[in-house]
């Protein structure tokens, strides 16, 4: 397995999906089974490879970048093909491979108009490359490329396969189809952020040449040189990176693309968006912002914490006003990612670990919620909670899983969602020495209140969707309960939700060492 350890394994994880895209393009349009087979094969292969990566990973050295490679790529700009994996990225990589496999399985017989599995699966595979690449990249330019790579597929997923209802958009004169509005909004917001992120990367590069060293884009190298980034320049760099990552997370008040994109996206699109894409932003904070700019991280931490808490409360409150089930779930992401960011803002080992497990948990849970919401709207042809109700009666299995997932989403202890919330509150009670206790403890209290609100809207959603007598319009309709493909996609997620909840070491085992090293290197704690 030397080839695997020397970087080719990870390279394969990143680029195998692109091979899959080529294969897909070569199939005739009508050969849908072949297309699905190819997609499944490729994604499963990636997942298996990621499992191999786990097996080969040295958990004792989880703060080291392992199984990586460092090749010359664009010498003209000193950009290198430098990848590697550590305890922080490992869970996210596995998650992304895993969720994609499930998405392919789910897609097997769920196609939104206008079908076209070939194109859809191809986009999904491109997305996979982008996500995996982002988690593995150790070169800022490479990171940027992969970070951006996810935009196009998601744009098309939302725009082509998205929701066709016509909506009145606040601030617009004309009414537009949700999918069109959402797709471009997603694209513009993210591009806006990443344009500034790129400026930040370049500024990092140009300021990294202190002490006779030549400037570099290499993340590990930049972490070594974190002392070089000081003063107002560093402030601006952090600000630029913040814009890029915060849009993606998304943090309040840059979040407004998210509900629209989630609502409009096809089911699988929503799932991948929620499960993985949002994590790219928070991952960026942990991988780049904090270790490279520790001094600025201290400066910015209170602001991030405040925004995160606003996001928590605000997202929950907004959920309470929703009538559209998917939109509610989407807004819940704002709140959940608020906890993730609150954890990061504490700059402590507990907080950052919390944010990592929070990411994984949110990916699994909210991904599953979107699967379920998609399946429901597939059957009811509506997502209006006012028209739903009694779902548990019509489809006991699906409704039961829905209830379970909602419980997981509200952070029920013993399930995956709890650790992220609890640990980030824990972290914010005692943030990094020197950070304002007042801000963080207030944040903790509001975060705790946020957990109550979270429970509020999720239970409310359950009541409106799952409970009660079914609406008269569904009488006499024969709804088929969750089918084989759906269960095949969902049960692994359910198992994972419980498994992480009961045995958080699944995530912490990988992350803790890496985070400890990060915190002690960056903040001397």
């Amino acid at each position: 397995m030397d080839w695997f350890d020397s970087g080719w394994g990870l390279t394969l994880i990143v680029f195998l999906p692109l091979v899959g895209v080529l294969l897909l393009l070569a199939t005739p349009k009508a050969a849908e089974t072949a297309q699905k087979g190819i997609a499944l094969l490729i994604t499963v292969a990636c997942f298996v490879l990621s499992l191999v990566a786990i097996a080969r990973f040295d958990f004792g050295d989880s703060h080291m970048f392992q199984m990586g490679m460092d090749l010359s790529w664009i010498p003209a700009i000193d950009a290198r093909y430098h990848i590697g994996i550590d305890g922080i990225s490992l869970p996210l990589l596995v998650l992304s491979c895993f969720v994609t496999v499930l998405s392919v399985i789910y897609s097997w017989n769920h196609w939104e108009e206008p079908r076209n599995p070939k194109a859809f699966l191809a986009l999904m595979l491109v997305l996979l490359t982008g996500m995996n690449g982002t988690f593995l990249a150790l070169d800022l330019v490479l990171f940027f490329i992969f970070f951006e790579l996810v935009l196009l597929p998601m744009y098309f997923m939302v725009g082509v396969w998205g929701d066709r209802t016509i909506r009145k958009i606040p601030g617009f004169k004309r009414e537009v189809e949700t999918r069109l509005y959402a797709a471009i909004k997603f694209f513009i917001f993210t591009l806006f952020g990443s344009a500034f992120m790129l400026l930040g990367f370049l500024a990092l590069y140009f300021n990294s040449d202190g002490g006779g060293a030549s400037p570099t884009f290499q993340i590990p190298e930049l972490i070594q040189r974190s002392g070089l980034f000081t003063g107002s320049v560093a402030w601006f760099i952090f600000a630029a990176l913040f814009l890029g990552f915060a849009v993606k997370v998304p943090m309040w008040p840059l979040h407004t693309w998210l509900p629209d994109a989630h609502t409009a996206a096809p089911t699988v699109g929503s799932v991948l968006l929620a499960a993985i894409l949002l994590k790219l932003g928070s991952y960026g904070f942990i991988r780049i912002s904090l270790p490279i700019l520790p001094e600025q991280a201290r400066v910015w931490a209170p602001a991030i914490a405040i925004l995160a808490v606003i996001g928590i409360i605000y997202g929950s409150l907004a959920c309470l006003a929703q009538t559209d089930m998917k939109r509610l779930i989407a807004f819940s992401s704002v709140g959940h990612m608020g906890f993730v960011m609150l954890g990061i803002a504490t700059l402590t080992e507990e907080g950052i670990n919390a944010s990592l497990i929070g990411m994984v948990a949110h990916g699994v849970i909210t991904g599953l919620l979107f699967f379920l919401a998609g399946s429901m709207s597939h059957r009811y042809h509506t997502r209006e909670m006012g028209r739903l109700g009694g779902n548990l009666k019509l489809m006991p299995l699906l409704g039961g899983i829905f209830a379970f997932t909602a419980m997981a989403s509200l952070g029920l202890p013993g399930l995956a969602g709890f650790w992220g919330e609890f640990m980030s509150l824990l972290g914010s009670y005692q943030p990094l020495a020197g950070l304002s206790l007042g801000v963080f403890r207030t944040a903790m209290v509001f975060g705790a209140i946020g957990t109550v609100l979270t429970a509020g809207y999720l239970l409310w959603m359950l009541q409106r969707v799952n409970l009660g007598e079914p609406n008269s319009e569904w009488l006499g309709r024969n709804f088929h309960d969750a089918d084989r493909y759906e269960l095949a996609a969902w049960v692994p997620l359910i198992i994972l939700i419980v498994a992480i909840g009961v045995f958080p070491d699944l995530v912490f085992g990988a992350t803790d060492g890496a985070v400890a090293a990060l915190v002690s290197n960056a903040f001397g704690g």
Binding site: Y314, L320, A354, L412, L426, V502, F508, G509
Partner: protein, 672 residues
């Protein structure tokens, strides 16, 4: 007076290891596994899953009994933890703690749970979601066991919330009706609010000590370690806030009456051994923490506990028999809290112990009645003592235990509480307790009279429930009598010893014998309550007229009554209590506390709409979209510069060049 001291404990050869203790985690695991199995295969089993549930609880009961035996004979202290993750300075652990307190809870949950489960097999037969009910019910019991077996606060939270979610599922069991699911939500939600306290309290204590282990926190608190003294008060108050939610302490009790929406066995278990006792358990478990800060926090606990104890008043105006019992539970929980607040550790837990039996009994009796008359309302009952003999007798036993007449269980525990209060110098609180005892007697007499005496006012012909239901009643009735005998001052104080087996020791007061004042005051109050109650409700509870009269107490017709003493009671004592006061309390409850709770819910929803509709959509999103519209408009404006006239282009071209040059000149020759 006996002071349980360390020396005394050391004298006992406490069992600290052994396979029985090492396998005690099965107590938690078995119900959970059973629950999972019921979900997965329950429908295919002959008993639709009930056998798994009952079996699991039977196992718990037996295991609990064995442990109790061990504890009685030698004492048990055992703790074991498995680390599941190391995060920063903290270890996250799952474990199990076996000591006097947890054994008592195991046994309580096991026994009461088993009996309630058996009862439920009959009661729930033919229910819409029979199998699911068993899954949730078993999960409920399992979570309670997880809670009480927790050696660390995180596991405690896990069990705590598990109980919460199970209660949500069970209270909202008949979710076809929105009111029921709302009741479930209300329960979960109120608890969630309280859990803020628990969570933050845990965080504060855990951060201060770098561990979440309960015994370490207790030890630190007992020693007055500097690491904890600064935060102990806040931490304790926050934990207590959490306990207030689960144990339905004023003003977070509002969920509990609504929780009656669930099936009666659920109410029985919830009010007896699980859920509501969790708060009391928490305070007891963390007792050294609370105790070490005596004085500071006590008043809080006492005030809240007293207020809660007086909420029994509300039971007086309820028509729903289960609600009467619910308010009764609230009031009894107040008792327990008051006891713990006054430092009477054993007394509080003793009351928990006895209360578990007789309250389960009362609920099951009410369930039996409800099963028979198909209504919860006492106005649909009456005269049931004849057709339902077993139920009637057991109810009377349970009722006597509740109103605390000797030799029934409640008498001993209540007396010990009052004695403890008296001893600790909280005489005023003791008198509140005495008052509460009076109220308890009053409403229990009322409920008994309205249900079992007079004439039947409902539909159909009620008859006694099946064996499966009555046998648990009988067993519980027996327990309701004998449970109090485990701690009779001066005679046998075994419970004090059992509960005393714990790692962190503390001093507390144990009455050596019955003390005169509390004993007499309590008894007199109770008897007075029964007497007055019977005078009002008992005599002609059968007639419609009487109930009318009772419902509108202000219009009591003087002359229709032969006994002026009735009128004296009424106008002098009952009316002020039953009328304005009770109504005032009821009004406060409905329009202030409940209104606040509902108002908070409403306001939150409203705020949600404002945030979403006002700020998000019209504010932030509008701003972004406005920006985009503005950009687009700007695009339109600049595009119209392109007029299509080539000479205008040429003009613009030359002007552009000129501007550039002039700017160049200005830049160079004006600003240098």
């Amino acid at each position: 007076m006996i002071l349980a001291t360390e020396a005394e404990h050391a004298a006992r050869e406490v069992l600290t290891s052994g396979p029985l203790l090492e396998w005690a985690w099965l107590i938690v695991a078995v119900p959970y596994v059973a629950s999972l199995l019921i979900v997965l295969v329950g429908k295919r089993l002959p008993g639709k899953g009930a056998e798994l549930a009952v079996g699991a609880l039977g196992f718990v009961m037996l295991y609990g009994a064995v442990l109790l035996y061990l504890n009685i004979t030698q004492g048990v202290i055992f703790e074991s933890s498995v680390t599941v993750a190391e995060v920063g300075a903290f270890s996250l652990e799952w474990g199990w703690l076996v000591d006097g307190l947890s054994i008592m809870m195991f046994f309580l949950v096991g026994v009461v749970g088993f009996l309630v489960f058996v009862f439920a097999v009959g009661y729930m037969r033919g229910d819409v979601r029979y199998t699911f009910f068993w899954a949730a019910f078993t999960f409920f019991a399992g979570s309670m066991l997880l809670l009480v077996s927790a050696p660390n606060l995180i596991q405690l939270i896990v069990g705590w919330e598990g109980v919460g979610v199970a209660s949500y599922l069970l209270i909202g069991h008949y979710w076809e009706d929105k009111a029921n699911s709302s009741a479930g939500m209300k329960a979960f939600y109120t608890n969630r609010v309280a859990d803020i306290g628990l969570t933050i309290g845990t965080i504060i204590l855990g951060t201060a000590l770098g561990t979440f282990r309960i015994e370490e926190i207790n030890a630190a608190a007992g020693e007055g370690a500097t690491a904890i003294t600064g935060v102990a008060f806040v931490g304790a108050i926050l934990l207590f806030f959490g306990a207030m939610g689960k144990s339905a302490q004023f003003p977070l009790h509002v969920w509990l009456p609504d929780a009656m929406a669930g099936p009666t066995p659920v109410s029985a278990l919830m009010h007896a051994a699980t859920m509501v006792t969790a708060g009391v358990y928490l305070v007891a478990r963390m007792f050294p923490l609370f105790e070490s800060l005596a004085g500071q926090h006590r008043n809080w606990v006492l005030i809240i506990g007293s207020a809660t104890a007086l909420l029994g008043l509300l039971a007086l105006v309820q028509d729903d028999i289960k609600r009467v019992l619910a308010y009764s539970t609230v009031s009894q929980l107040g008792y327990m809290m008051v006891a713990l607040g006054a430092g009477a550790y054993t007394a509080g837990l003793f009351h928990l112990w006895t209360h578990a039996f007789f309250k389960a009994l009362l609920f099951l009796c009410s369930g039996s009645v409800i099963h028979a008359v198909h209504s919860n309302n006492m106005s649909d009952m009456g005269g049931l003592r004849k057709p339902m003999r077993v139920t009637f007798v057991t109810w009377i036993i349970g009722g006597l235990a509740l109103v605390a007449l000797p030799p029934f269980a409640g008498f001993f525990s209540k007396d010990e509480i009052l004695a403890g209060l008296d001893n600790a110098g909280y005489q005023s609180v003791m008198w509140i307790g005495v008052g509460a005892a009076f109220v308890t007697a009053l409403y229990m007499t009322r409920a008994t009279a309205l249900t079992f005496f007079g004439v039947y006012k409902g539909h159909g012909h009620p008859h006694e429930s099946e064996r499966l239901m009555t046998i648990p009643l009988v067993i519980l009735a027996v327990l309701s009598v004998v449970a109090g005998w485990v701690n009779v001052p001066g005679v046998y104080t075994g419970l004090t010893e059992w509960l005393g087996t714990r790692q962190v020791l503390f001093e507390e007061f144990h009455p050596e014998g019955f003390e005169f004042l509390p004993l007499v005051a309590g008894l007199v109050a109770t008897l007075l309550g029964i007497f007055i109650g019977w005078s009002i409700y008992g005599r002609d509870a059968a007639t419609q007229e009487a109930r009318d009269r009772l419902r509108v107490p202000g219009l009591w017709p003087f002359l229709q009554h032969r006994l002026y003493i009735d009128d004296l009671y009424w106008t002098g004592i009952v009316q002020p209590i039953k009328g304005p006061l009770a109504r005032a309390v009821n009004w406060t409850n409905d329009y202030v506390i409940d209104a606040v709770v509902n108002g908070v819910a409403f306001a939150t929803t409203w705020l949600g709409r404002v945030v979403y509709g006002g700020i998000d959509q019209r504010g932030i999103d509008f701003a972004y979209n406005g920006l985009s519209t503005a950009t687009d408009e700007a695009g339109g404006a600049v595009t119209h510069l392109q007029t299509g006239k080539v000479q205008e282009y040429a003009g613009a071209f030359v002007v552009g060049a000129l501007v550039l040059v002039v700017l160049g000149f200005v830049g160079f020759f004006v600003f240098g």
